[in-house]
């Protein structure tokens, strides 16, 4: 029997893709489960703290934009996008309405670290007047060398 030389034997050069579907669906499931809409997209430098507690999900959010962006106050119920308010009375009205629905309603205060404390003080005062009980001051992790 003659041996044919130089003939292409057709060695398989395909990439194995059968597990791709599993990996892709795993990623989809991960993103679906961890999916959370950010109610306030204001870019800011949060203050850094050593002590950090997990903030409750769906808590109402009050954000104060950085001074170079006008220190605008925005409020959100935690489910809808944050809306700007023009006066501190509107914050009181918003917080009072939320507290009336649930007396133990939690609030997240998201403010830039360079915001003047006077503005933050007004918001804290509005929350106190609205009988809010729990506030979370949103922060970034402070690392050991900074502390």
């Amino acid at each position: 029997m003659a041996l044919i030389r130089g003939r292409d034997r057709g060695t398989g050069a395909a990439i194995f893709t059968a597990s791709m579907a599993d990996i892709v669906f795993l990623l989809i499931v991960f993103f679906v489960l961890t999916y959370k809409v950010e109610v306030d997209k204001t870019q800011m430098n949060l203050p850094e703290t050593w002590v950090r507690k997990k903030v409750p999900e769906k808590a109402a959010v009050i954000s104060i934009s950085p001074p170079d962006k006008g220190s605008t106050i925005r409020v959100s119920t935690g489910e809808e996008m944050a809306l700007p308010v023009s006066t501190i009375e509107e914050v009181i009205t918003f917080a009072s309405t939320e507290v009336a629905k649930n007396p133990n309603r939690e609030f997240i205060l998201k403010a830039d670290k360079d915001s003047p404390y006077g503005t933050v003080d007004e918001v804290l005062d509005a929350l106190k007047q609205s009988k809010v009980k729990y506030i979370y001051l949103l922060s970034e992790q402070l690392t050991a060398d900074e502390g």
């Binding site: 892709v24 670290k113 915001s115 003080d121 979370y136």
Partner: protein, 170 residues
């Protein structure tokens, strides 16, 4: 006559599945929020008309513009805050700490001092091996464990003015 059975193709077309899947992945990756989900918790007291805290019974921390602090009217570096508070609380563990911030100071200045006060629990205790609990390093005059600052009060400018008015200093 023999009738040949026709083979009907019964395949589900999966050629576009990869495209749809990657489209979904990209959508969720872009819209998913990787925002900060942690912060300092802070419970507000019930609003009362009369001040409960007498000034001489408390430790007053004053955050000034620029981030410098005054504790009981004396300048103190931030690192000296917890040792000072510890010394006072060992004598009277019920002493509240009042954190007052100048309106001209930044929010970051106030948070760094508040965070330092909240760190007391970590600094005044040590971990117990093989347990998640922590052991107190100090005991107060009554022999009870001192593990944290029981009350940290952050009065607002309006409340401070109300107190001054009540004291006839407004």
């Amino acid at each position: 006559m023999n009738i040949k059975k026709k083979d009907i193709a019964s395949e589900i077309f999966t050629g576009s599945m990869a495209d749809i899947s990657f489209l979904l992945i990209i959508y969720f990756m872009i819209t998913s929020a990787f925002s900060a989900t942690r912060g300092l918790d802070f419970a507000l007291p019930e609003e009362t008309d009369t001040p409960e805290i007498k000034q001489e019974d408390s430790i007053e921390v004053h955050v000034m513009s620029g981030g410098a602090i005054e504790v009981d009217k004396k300048d103190l570096p931030l690192d000296g805050l917890l040792p000072y508070v510890l010394e006072k609380l060992l004598q009277n563990p019920e002493k509240p700490v009042i954190l007052r911030t100048d309106p001209d100071a930044t929010y970051g200045d106030m948070i760094s001092v508040f965070d330092r006060l909240r760190r007391a629990n970590e600094e005044w205790t040590e971990p117990i091996e093989g347990s998640e609990e922590r052991r107190a390093l100090y005991k107060d005059v009554k022999g009870n464990d001192l593990t944290e600052i029981k009350t940290i009060s952050i009065p607002t400018q309006r409340e401070i003015e109300n107190i001054w008015n009540l004291l006839g200093m407004g």
